[in-house]
Symmetry: T
Subunit: 69 residues, 12 copies
């Protein structure tokens, strides 16, 4: 693995039910086009409200994948 | 919206079951008196134990709302 | 001054033209009810867009004032 | 305790003699109106000088108390 | 409590289902040998993927317990 | 909005006159190809000098937009 | 000294009178079993209250000592 | 350029009108005696008030210049 | 240079021998497709082990280049 | 005050008895040559040990003073 | 791997020649007693001087390993 | 040592070959005029490129030395 180069991108996933789902949505969307995803770090959690109710949990994630140029 | 002023307060919600519930408790309590809450940022997560068991998940949240003076 | 107690609050001001105006709006709104404001620290700058245009500059400020209880 | 909501406020205490006194002044002033204070975190220490002498030690503290709405 | 000394250790718990479970696993494993655990702070959340799917939620926690020397 | 995924990119805008212009340049350039930009966070401000004069204000901004894969 | 390996541990000392005493308690307890302690960095200061009074000053310290394996 | 040594100093500029002017004041004052200034990073923005009005914008800047010893 | 817009990307380079080589690998790979790279900031260093031996040094770098849209 | 320029320097004071004394030593030494010192921020506290005993409290302070060039 | 618990410890390695050697010394010393080490994060780099010469490069590393209780 | 005062300065060293050399250059240049340098902390690492090649490794270091006023 030693001479590889990886790229890190930052995505925000959202979910009506949990931060786990929010992160999973971001990752599974990314995995359609990016290969070899292994670790995603959470860099921020927040949530959106409407009329005093929580309507979305959001998780910001850092994803690394092989950079093929 | 451009000339409005908002105030940010920091609350800690607790829940026996999850951080999502903990944050939701903080927000829904706040929304009884504060209007126009839209985004809550998580600034800290921790949990309390008793006798080696988790008894409460706690989420510290930053809430912004219209500052009417 | 030595035995005084101060309280710090965090406000977000907005302006259509600049971060200086945004911070000034927050402070001048606060100064209607709070006395003895002297220093405001900027803790975050951001801006809102609509249709690809900037519509508001926002400045988050920490303000301290005398805490009279 | 599990479903409670707490609020966090930030105060600055000052003292002519030490940061311990500065923090204590902030807390004891707050405790006149706030109930159930348990932990105060120090977020900043500084000091004021006049004519090359220290005239006040200042401690910024984060205090949490029950949020009763 | 005033003259006690505590030690802080950092553990990483993992779970296939949630960060709450991940933290709980770390804590309950630690509580087999450490006494008087009361608060655990989350210092990092991440997750591991395999073949584009989330396989583990991981929570890094700071735990304090009585240091008996 | 709840199941959407967003991507965050970081740009640096420059301007001979102000940080507001610098950020605006970055955003308006990005908005030619990215849709649905709403909030841009400032992550760094600096400036370039030549011969003891300021020649450019620079603002580093984080922009989020819909991630369509 | 050049090829040595050190270990860093984090302790929390408490004292009814000052943060200096709190840190000293942590260090002197540690020095009963650890050799060659030289520098302790403060990573957090807080205090505990009961009935509106300060009952304990707490100092979190990072201690390094020779790691002999 | 490769074997050069630079020194970094931190200045605070002030201005009655904007943070751009504040930073520019700091830099142009420094450039009277320091040569080869190229980049100045903003490390803090704040402002001073008197009687509820902003009287000065202040910018803290990090400046690097050739260290000639 | 004053009205240009730059984009910042984050790469991770790896090397069996040093962090300098790791960063260089990331940069030289990027320079095949990106023009006008000038400064790369290191944001993280780590290393991977296998069977108690270091097998790869990794450097995370932030690279800025001209954003041509 | 609005057009003034200040310089910030960082000193480390030491004391056998307390961090207050340590900071005061740094400040009073500086005030022999620097004029118009007003606020000193603490940026780090640590302590030195010898033979398992605390021998010096150290406080790192940021001092600003008028920059006269 | 999903239900495992890991412990993180912090070591400081030193070397007369490089930070790579310093980190490697810390890790290889640890690997004599700890199993299944995989990633070590660098949390601080510094160096020691004597008589104006560098005598040791030091690297502080965070190591995780299986926590078997 | 207990009543001494130290000053901290920040330098940037550069080298065509490594960050170790870059830091060493900064320190050995400083040691021509500053006495009693003992520890230098690395606060930033970056590198400069030209035509897609690394031309200089740069290390920002914090140096403390005796402040004799």
């Amino acid at each position: 693995m030693t001479e590889s180069v990886y790229k890190i991108i930052e995505l925000v996933g959202t979910s009506a039910s949990s931060w786990e789902e929010a992160a999973k949505n971001a990752i599974e969307t990314a995995s359609k086009t990016l290969k070899d995803l292994r670790i995603a770090e959470i860099t921020k959690l927040d949530l959106r409200m409407e009329n005093g109710k929580v309507v979305a949990y959001r998780a910001r994630v850092n994803l690394s994948f092989k950079y093929e140029k």
